[in-house]
């Protein structure tokens, strides 16, 4: 594996991570570092384990019945899989936007955005109206929903629902943000807004984004990891991966020769 040494400023370090669904191993001995204030793009063909990888970073993988993992994931040098660590506290620090939009159907748009704050008991201490407006603006949704915040979140279009989920993840102000194909259902304008948002957010956060869009990966990320069949084939600086990939398979994938 080729790449620059980034363990210095690593926010999240992944060491010898393997993951299984039942007997089916889907990740093989992954090593990588997520740097603070950088965007890390995860690319690779469908089914190669990208979602599983980022779900291991906030302990969501283990919520699937029969799923297990091995290895270590360090958040600021603390192993998040240590038995004394409460997964709930980890998930509050590492936010996630899922591949499929999943707003709470019984809650209004407003309540969806502040759902995380209510869960963690912070809702009473802050001005919810302000937070809702700020997060919906960041997620490029405010202008479309500002007059119907009391309507159910399930009444939005697929792309709007995805942006609602982004706003919901932002409201709890996590330290690391994991985004699983956040733009796959968005039109070019909304995609642009989300990319602007990522640009804005990375001043304060470490961001991991799964994407099938090579241009997007090269536009917004500093780091890129290429997965193939559960292995991290290559991980390194985006400019270098997209210009002089170290592995023939990476080159084939980004030039569209397979996958």
């Amino acid at each position: 594996m080729k790449g620059t040494d980034v363990t210095e400023q690593a926010r999240v370090s992944i060491k010898n991570l393997s993951a299984w669904f039942g007997e089916h191993q889907v990740l093989f001995d992954i090593n990588a570092s997520i740097r603070d204030k950088w965007v890390t793009a995860i690319i690779g063909p469908s089914g190669c384990g990208k979602s599983t990888f980022i779900r291991c970073l906030n302990r969501m993988h283990e919520t699937v019945p029969g799923a297990r993992m091995k290895g270590r994931v360090l958040l600021d040098d603390e192993d998040i899989y240590k038995s004394s660590v409460d997964p709930v506290s980890i998930r509050r620090r590492i936010g996630m936007v899922f591949q499929k939009p999943n707003p709470f159907p019984t809650m209004s748009i407003f309540d969806n955005v502040v759902a995380g704050l209510r869960l963690s008991g912070q809702a009473r201490r802050v001005n919810l109206n302000e937070i809702v407006e700020r997060c919906l603006k960041q997620a490029a949704l405010w202008s479309q929903v500002k007059d119907r915040l009391k309507e159910p979140g399930a009444g939005l279009s697929g792309g709007q629902q995805q942006r609602l989920c982004i706003a919901r993840a932002l409201a709890v102000e996590p330290e690391v943000l994991l985004m699983d194909e956040p733009c796959s259902a968005l039109d070019p304008a909304a995609t642009q807004r989300i990319e602007d948002l990522i640009f804005e957010l990375k001043k304060n956060y470490a961001i991991v984004i799964v994407t099938h869009n090579m241009q997007q990966a090269s536009r917004i990320s500093e780091h890129t990891g290429f997965f193939l069949n559960g292995e991290l084939v290559e991980f390194g600086e985006t400019s270098q991966i997209f210009t002089t990939p170290g592995d023939k398979r990476t080159e084939d994938y980004i030039t569209g020769r397979f996958g």
Binding site: M60, G95, F104, P105, L119, A154
Partner: protein, 287 residues
């Protein structure tokens, strides 16, 4: 080639038509039987339906007989039954679905709860007689009756709540977990609100079943002449189905009329409960 294809599509159309007719006749038969029954009750009982019928106690004279004590008994009993079976039933369903996982013991318990739903009600009557009336000496009280009925319909509440909880998509639970929700918060704020319409439907179904049950109440000895309104959970009581059962075998035709009128009242209450259930369902499912 063309002719064959045409023939095939013709055969398909005929089959579809036949199936449609079969379904239609099934509906007509079942609804027809119900309609005949209702009309019969209506013709016989409507004449006796009056305010004084609702507000008088039972009597030896059919013209004076009313269902005041039965209505109050039924209200008392349904309230207590709901009080016992709703919280216990829903908590059991939550526990079985959310906390037990797929262990053998849990699977065993789940299967047996479904089996309990099929146990004849008279068996629960025996149980109520042995446990509540005799062992705990609650006697023939409203309390004994409602505890017995609560046991009888508990499996319905549990099974339908389990089903409602099970269909809440994984993605919603995941959304809650990913926001830092604990298991209980996820159940409380995401799972229960989403499964609420299904749970309410199950509860109303269970209570509609309980309100018409006669056999277990007769078993625990509620078939007596009661001309007073229950004044507490330990009071003796009668209930609508028992009062009806009491009138039907009597020789005087007048009693058959008041029995039919009682049936109309009972049906009215059940339709009312189901109406409430569908209103709740519609209101929440739109969201």
């Amino acid at each position: 080639m063309m002719d064959q294809a045409k023939g095939q599509s013709r055969a398909r159309k005929i089959k579809a038509r036949l199936f449609y007719l079969a379904c239609l006749s099934a509906i007509i038969i079942s609804l027809g039987a119900l309609a005949v029954l209702l009309t019969d009750m209506f013709i016989r009982g409507f004449g006796s339906l009056s305010l004084s019928f609702l507000t008088s106690f039972p009597s030896r004279f059919p013209a004076k007989a009313g269902i005041k004590s039965a209505i109050f008994g039924t209200i008392w009993m349904m309230s207590l039954t709901a009080l016992f079976c709703i919280p216990i039933g829903i908590s059991t369903a939550i526990f079985l679905e959310e906390y037990t996982g797929n262990s053998r013991l849990a699977a065993f318990i789940k299967i047996n709860i479904s089996n309990l739903a099929g146990v004849p009600s008279i068996v629960y009557g025996f149980l109520g007689l042995a446990v509540f009336v005799r062992a705990l000496s609650f006697n023939r009280s409203v309390l004994s009756g409602s505890l017995t009925l609560a046991l009888l319909v508990m499996p319905i509440v549990i099974v339908s709540s389990q089903e409602a909880i099970r269909v809440v998509p994984r993605a919603l639970r995941e959304a809650s977990y990913a926001l830092g929700g604990t298991r209980w918060q996820t159940i409380r704020r995401v799972v229960l609100p989403s499964s609420f319409p299904g749970i309410v439907t199950g509860v109303i179904l269970a209570l509609s079943r309980a309100i018409g049950e006669t056999a277990p109440l007769i078993m625990i000895g509620a078939l007596t002449f009661i001309a007073f309104v229950p004044d507490g959970p330990f009071s003796e009581f009668t209930a609508l189905p028992i009062q009806i059962f009491n009138w039907v075998p009597r020789p005087q035709a007048g009693f058959h009329q008041v029995a039919a009128a009682g049936v109309l009242v009972l049906l009215g209450i059940i339709f009312f409960m189901n109406g409430i259930a569908s209103i709740i369902r519609n209101r929440f499912e739109r969201h």
